[in-house]
């Protein structure tokens, strides 16, 4: 336990300020006003992998690490869509996941918003047109914003999310 404390002291706080400005494509106008009012200080995120290659998930899990630490902004990942305000969906949406995504969206209480993550989430990306893929996230549930990239880095994800809820970065 003391070795652990020593390690903790030596490493210190690894959390960094958010560097880049968020590159985010807004889809609706609703975001800025209502979302900021409600979720500016508290946002529960349910992540849904609707068919991604796991690259986006890899970077999303990075958000919980010490460097990005999304919790400092009042953002956190939750276990149940019942607890969620925001669905963070990676795509492309496969035929086999479309229904699950729809149900997850239904199970989430209003007000809620959907952020599509990655180039695949935006429009299906490389997988567009496959017999097993429906398309981008917006082809299945209403999307409010898109964070592009393949995969977007944790920095871009964090900046994008903060932009979405209109939260100043500090």
């Amino acid at each position: 336990m003391f070795r652990q404390l020593r390690t903790a002291l030596r490493t210190g706080i690894a959390t960094e300020p958010v560097a880049a400005a968020g590159e985010i494509e807004r889809v609706g106008a609703r975001l800025a006003s209502e979302v900021a009012r409600l979720f500016g200080r508290s946002l529960a995120i349910r992540q849904v992998d609707a068919g991604s290659c796991n690259g986006c998930e890899l970077e999303i899990t990075g958000l919980t690490g010490p460097h990005y630490d999304l919790e400092r902004f009042g953002l956190r990942f939750v276990a149940s869509p019942r607890h969620a305000d925001c669905l963070l969906v990676t795509g492309p949406v496969t035929r086999n996941m479309a229904e699950a995504l729809r149900r997850t969206w239904q199970a989430t209480p209003d007000p809620k918003f959907v952020v599509a993550v990655g180039d695949c989430g935006r429009d299906g990306g490389l997988f567009r047109g496959s017999y097993a893929v429906v398309g981008g996230v917006a082809d299945v549930v209403p999307v409010d914003a898109v964070i592009p990239g393949c995969p977007p880095s944790p920095a871009a994800l964090l900046a994008g999310l903060l932009e979405a809820i209109g939260r100043p970065r500090r």
Partner: protein, 314 residues
Amino acid sequence: MIASLAVALVHIAVVGAGAPLLIGALGTLKARLVGRRGPSPWQPYADFRKLLAKEVVVSTTTSWVFRATPYLLVATSLVTALIVPVATVRPPLAFAGNIILLVYLFMLGTFFLALAGLDAGSAFGGMGSSREVAVAALAEPTVIVAVFALALRADTIDLGRIVERFGSEPHLALNPAHLLAFAAFFIVMLAETGRLPVDNPATHLELTMIHEAMVLEYSGRYLALVEWASAMKLFLFMTLLANLFVPWGLTEPTGPVAVLGGLLALAGKLSVLTLAVAVLETAVAKLRLFRVPELLAGSFALAFLSLMAVFLVR
């Protein structure tokens, strides 16, 4: 009458408003200890505010039990707040049943929360309920026996009077049995409030959780109420631990100054305790589910020894 009403309001206000801060501070401290900036200690307030503004999605499988439970949980926590010596040694409802009432009020909450977990019919809820009642059923006797070991030495089971007695006669507390009871109570506190190493409040995996598995179906204001109630439960347990075993600073509610003094003393004690819990929670892993009963059995043994010591070391 008016004075005791005022004290009641103070108790409810302190517990109701302080509980989220306690949870928030624990979160911040734990994050700092692992090298993260972590959420603000005020985060739970923002969460509650948001949840209250949200819609509630209720499963079509559920009955009124599911909908009534959040209110009942809050009610049990609030009533408990009136029994525990938070700000003074004369908690307003202390006369209504003393420590036994305290334990059974928590059981009332657990009873309904566990039923609510079963009500939606999902395996996760049942899993949480089954585990929660197993933990509660094994933790509850320890609370009774540990607190009773103290009560015997103070010759009353009124919580306020126990505090008063130990406060005025500190030599009573200088006793190995006292330490045993403290250790037992500490372990049970972790178990009853779903902290590590019994339950992991930070986990987000359906299959491993206890508390969160039961509340997986709750949303919006119901979720806020349930989480608020469980925050209050943690606050009350920690307050009990602080004031029963470190009984100084609390007095009779002679006036606002005395009450304020009691609150300040409590704040100090809780800060230390919060830090201790945060350090402990970062230093241990969650026990395998079926090790938990062993831990609880151990704590029960400690409490039982403490009680026997009252007779044997007389």
